[in-house]
């Protein structure tokens, strides 16, 4: 997968291979700029890979998009500035032509879930960073998609809100048996929310390690205390970067000469 601007070419991804079984939960971790978002954008049919193939439940990304099989929470929570928060959350269902009452009901449910009650009538610029991110999550949740693609959805949230949303997400995934692909910077979060964690190397991004998390689908906060959790954490940290005590990011290939 390459990006080009004029004669300059950035190779963002090279050989990547990852298969998530239907209903499975996978996380993607990797250094900043290694191509995680690009990978999600390929699955969401936003960019076309210059080589290779991506499928969601046997469909190409384009088909999956056409059948509204996935929902994407992108890295910068995109809200339409001219719509109030509630209208922004309703957007997905509105586009899918859901019934008005149903749409409102599901949006209010999702808003309640992410803790934004009381801000329905606020415009995006009147929300704090974390509130905007939660609104974007709520919008994806209203859709009850088969595949949930989330790009650092909890990045701007405080630990508590984050933990609470983690568990809400797990509950929803179980309820709807959706498949999850999550990009996160928190190794702990990756372990808590996944069956499998894939580790990407810096550019050109490659999946260099995959770790099965054997916790089953009924997770509790207690699993943090499981010795396996710490072992997973150590393994992933190691996979991310041989030496855990590194002080510099290792992304140094000049691409824009």
């Amino acid at each position: 997968m390459t990006y080009r601007r004029g004669r300059e070419v950035t190779q963002a991804l090279s050989a990547c291979s990852l298969t998530i079984p239907e209903g499975g939960w996978a996380s993607l971790i990797g250094a900043s700029g290694c191509g995680k978002s690009t990978l999600l954008r390929i699955l969401a049919d936003i960019v076309q890979p210059s080589g290779g193939s991506a499928t969601l439940g046997g469909m190409t990304p384009a088909e999956a998009r056409a059948t509204r099989s996935f929902a994407l929470v992108s890295q910068q929570s995109v809200l339409l500035p001219w719509r109030r928060m509630l209208e922004n959350v309703e957007l997905g269902l509105e586009v899918a032509r859901a019934d008005r009452a149903e749409r409102r009901r599901r949006a209010e449910e999702a808003i309640e879930l992410v803790g934004l009650r009381g801000f329905e009538r606020a415009y995006p610029h009147e929300l704090s960073g974390g509130m905007r991110q939660r609104a974007a999550i709520a919008r994806a949740l209203t859709l009850r998609p088969r595949f949930l693609l989330m790009d650092e959805p909890f990045g701007a949230l405080d630990e508590l809100t984050r933990a609470s949303l983690n568990f809400e997400l797990l509950r929803i995934l179980e309820e709807t048996s959706a498949t999850l692909l999550l990009v996160t910077h928190s190794i702990a979060e990756a372990i808590i929310l996944s069956d499998v964690v894939a580790v990407m190397s810096p550019r050109p991004g490659r999946i260099v390690h995959k770790l099965e998390i054997g916790f089953g689908h009924h997770r509790t906060d207690a699993m943090r205390d499981d010795p396996a959790f710490a072992a997973h954490e150590a393994e992933l940290r190691h996979a991310l970067h041989g030496d855990p005590g590194v002080t510099r990011p290792a992304i140094r290939e000049p691409a824009f000469a």
């Binding site: 969401a44 936003i46 998009r65 001219w82």
Partner: protein
């Protein structure tokens, strides 16, 4: 030295009379302009009274006012004709310009084929072909409507095309992943994003449509302010000419004001910038 921060709970907002506030605001808003216009009027009056300008060229504003008072009904009748063509052209031209912009933004082939033609049409000096237009469309309001629409159309086309394509990439991607069809994208993203541009075009044509209508009447007509201008000036009735000119100006300003009002209502989400440095 410590960097100290303390923010106590805010005081209750003080009571204010909204009416008085509005009055003060209005005064502050229009005060300078009113003063400017008043001084222009005074200089104008002085210059003409002193005989520095021939009354065949510029009449005194007081004489203009007198003529206005004495022939107001007739003038307003002509204003009615002009307004009909102007406002009709405003609606028609803007609608057409906007509709074409929507088509051009969606259909590449239409854009490549018809946009150059639209531009060529726009490039034709309309006053030069006005006589032919009058012959084709008759002497009623139609040719004036046509000319006003024609001059309003292009600013809207250009602005709307730019505006419809102005939505941010990220928003476009969002709608794409939601698998929105073109109609939804149009309604949900493109239209709101285009609003500032659309209102820009409307502001331009609010003034433009009256001027266009007058130009059309000026070529050949027996009604409208354009006719008053040609006919009265052929007999050097300059006070009447200026009545017509000022009436046309005032009408444009009214429409402009309405557009600004509509704009404010249509875009409540716009926010303020921090104060100047």
């Amino acid at each position: 030295m410590p960097s100290d921060l303390s923010v106590p709970a805010p005081a209750l907002p003080s009571l204010r009379l909204p009416g008085l506030d509005a009055l003060a605001l209005a005064l502050r808003q229009v005060g300078p302009a009113a003063l400017l216009f008043l001084s222009i009027l005074l200089v104008w009056e002085g210059v003409t009274r002193a005989g520095l300008v021939s009354p065949l060229i510029l009449p005194a504003p007081s004489d203009v006012a007198a003529t206005f008072v004495s022939s107001a009904p007739r003038l307003f009748l002509h204003l009615g004709w002009t307004s009909m063509a102007a406002l009709g052209g405003f609606v028609l031209g803007n609608t057409l310009g906007f509709a074409l912009a929507v088509v051009f933004v969606h259909l590449r082939l239409a854009r490549l084929t018809a946009l150059p033609l639209a531009m060529m049409a726009q490039a034709v000096p309309i006053v030069a072909v006005a006589p032919a237009l009058l012959l084709w469309l008759g002497n009623g309001v139609e040719p004036k409507l046509f000319i006003a629409s024609f001059l309003v159309f292009f600013p809207m086309l250009v602005n709307a095309m730019r505006g419809l394509a102005s939505a941010d990439d990220q928003v476009a991607e969002l709608l794409h992943t939601l698998s929105a069809d073109w109609k939804q994208r149009l309604l949900i993203v493109r239209l709101p994003a285009a609003l500032p541009f659309v209102f820009n075009a409307l502001r331009l044509s609010a003034c433009g449509c009256f001027v266009a209508s007058v130009v059309a009447e000026w070529v050949a007509s027996t009604t409208g302010l354009g006719y008053v201008i040609v006919f009265a000036s052929s007999q050097y009735r300059m006070t009447e000419v200026w009545c017509a000119v000022l009436l046309c100006t005032a009408a444009s300003l009214c429409v402009y004001g309405l557009v600004c009002l509509a704009e404010r209502l249509a875009m409540p989400w716009r926010r303020e910038r921090p104060g100047p440095a």
